[in-house]
């Protein structure tokens, strides 16, 4: 079976695209799949740092596209997981260095030998984003329970639909149940009500993510972490398994709740 290309995008910056890419990639590799993560954020690369592979970079995606090296030479094998690879972005170039058809070509070549190709998209809706979604079989949109992030996710979902990349799937990152219960944060149900797409994961807010990111070791590899479990659940759902959502803190559970924030004060 040919490998599947999954693009991870968000519109807004800083919602956790790169963290999600690293963790979903690591979790899929942890399940035994052969995975390549591609950093499509040319000029602002971070995926190598989050995976802790920065010091191993020799060639990058632009070198592949411009023919300075073979695809294999740009692929960096992960330190811990045998079946996880990274193709880093170039740091000294910009988004115009590659085109959507270049991405398509690179991914088609990878499809032959790998099960999942995970593309980390840059923020925005310009050239870099279009490069990232061009090869996608499936698009995962990451958002935060925050009005501006949800607005941008909505725009992205609209574009993904218009470009006929199939229905996007949603990851809600950094849910803080204490704040939701106090009515200070949008709940998952509020986000879903607006975006009306399939949910593929809910990731709690967790300072341990920051620590693991700085250490270059994805939290999905930490078997004890609840947040790591959330990413491992997403990976299982990506493979087509039906994994139930973990019950969240708070009495009613997030699905039964109706928008507290939006209508607070009127009731």
């Amino acid at each position: 079976m040919a490998g599947q290309v999954i693009t991870i995008t968000s519109g807004k910056g800083g919602v956790g695209k790169t963290t999600a890419t690293a963790n979903i990639g690591a979790a899929l590799a942890g399940l035994g799949h052969k995975v390549v993560c591609i950093d499509a954020d040319i000029g602002l690369r971070n995926l190598d740092v989050v995976l802790g592979l920065e010091n191993r970079i020799v060639y990058d995606l632009v070198d592949v596209v411009e023919g300075r090296c073979k695809l294999r030479q740009a692929m960096i094998r992960d330190k811990r997981l045998e079946t996880l690879f990274l193709i880093p972005a170039a740091q000294t170039r910009d988004k115009n260095a590659i085109s959507p058809s270049d991405m398509q070509r690179v991914c088609d070549e990878l499809r032959v030998d790998y099960d999942y190709i995970i593309v980390d998209s840059p923020a925005g809706i310009e050239r870099g984003f279009r490069n990232a979604i061009a090869p996608a079989d499936q698009v995962i949109v990451v958002t935060n329970p925050e009005v501006s992030a949800v607005r941008d996710a909505d725009r992205i979902i609209g574009i993904v639909e218009a470009e006929e990349k199939g229905p996007a799937q949603l990851v809600i990152n950094r849910i803080n149940m204490d704040m939701v219960n106090k009515g200070d944060m949008l709940a998952a149900a509020d986000v879903l009500e607006l975006l009306a797409v399939d949910l593929i994961g809910i990731v709690p807010e967790d300072q341990a993510v920051l620590v693991s990111t700085n250490r270059g070791s994805p939290i999905a590899m930490d078997k004890k972490s609840k947040t790591g479990q959330a990413f491992r659940d997403i990976a299982e759902r990506v493979t087509g398994k039906d994994v139930p959502f973990a019950p969240q803190d708070g009495e009613n559970g997030f699905f039964g709740r109706i928008s507290k924030l939006i209508r607070a004060g009127s009731n």
Partner: protein, 231 residues
């Protein structure tokens, strides 16, 4: 200039139109023409009149890239094809520009609205979609924040209206806006602008209209507006 591409300066930018022909060839002719006049056209805003041709999202996106690679920005797509217009709107292009030659003056448009042209949209308008229509607009679906509808006539939304809506955009003060949940970011009718109150109760069907120089919204069951009265 080859016979099949026409580039004309208008107030809103450069209007590009074509003689008869097949789409891929016309696109090639246009790109050639742009390359030929590249110095002269640098930085221009393009309005592309593709007439009846149906162009898919992927092709429109590529076309936008080709223009931006050559220092031009494509901002509007004019077409007589409904499919092409919808695609263009989803990608965030304008599909109507004002004051095109032969478009008629404003009062003429508003007098023709009664019982005339209406469009039906059966999907959710997401953030960034821009729907402009000279007649009435009906949406079966939601209008999300960040989306906008600009209609010459009335706007009816069978769903949640949370984006920006402008009814009677050509100056028709009798235009109305109805929605199952009327919570727009901003609501405009003709020259009036209203910002709905932030705290609202349970959503209910409402109608908004202009009366005595004010935009009013009231629940559908108790409507007093003349347009809703039995004749």
């Amino acid at each position: 200039m080859p016979p099949d591409v026409h580039i004309k300066g208008i107030r809103e930018g450069l209007l590009v139109s074509f003689d008869d022909g097949q789409w891929p060839e016309l696109e090639v002719a246009l790109i050639n023409e742009i390359e030929r006049q590249n110095d002269f056209l640098q930085g221009a805003k393009l309005i592309l009149d593709v007439a009846q041709h149906e162009i898919g999202a992927a092709d429109l996106g590529k076309l936008r890239d080709k223009f931006s690679d050559r220092g031009l920005s494509l901002w509007a797509i004019l077409s007589t094809s409904e499919a092409t217009r919808r695609t263009a709107q989803t990608l965030g292009f304008a599909t109507r520009i004002h004051n095109i030659e032969g478009d008629g003056d404003l009062t003429e448009v508003s007098s023709e609205i009664e019982g005339s042209d209406a469009t039906l949209i059966q999907r959710t308008l997401r953030s960034g979609s821009n729907l402009e229509h000279p007649g009435h607009v009906t949406v079966i679906g939601d209008v999300n924040p960040g989306a906008q509808i600009i209609a010459g006539g009335n706007v009816v939304v069978w769903g949640r209206l949370r984006g920006l809506v402008h009814a009677g955009a050509e100056g028709d003060e009798a235009a109305v806006v109805c929605a199952l949940d009327l919570s727009p970011t901003q609501l405009r009718i003709a020259g009036y602008i209203a910002i709905p109150p932030e705290q609202r109760g349970e959503p209910k069907p409402e109608i908004a209209y202009v009366q005595d120089g004010k935009v009013l919204a009231e629940p559908w069951e108790t409507v007093t507006h003349p347009s809703a009265q039995p004749v």
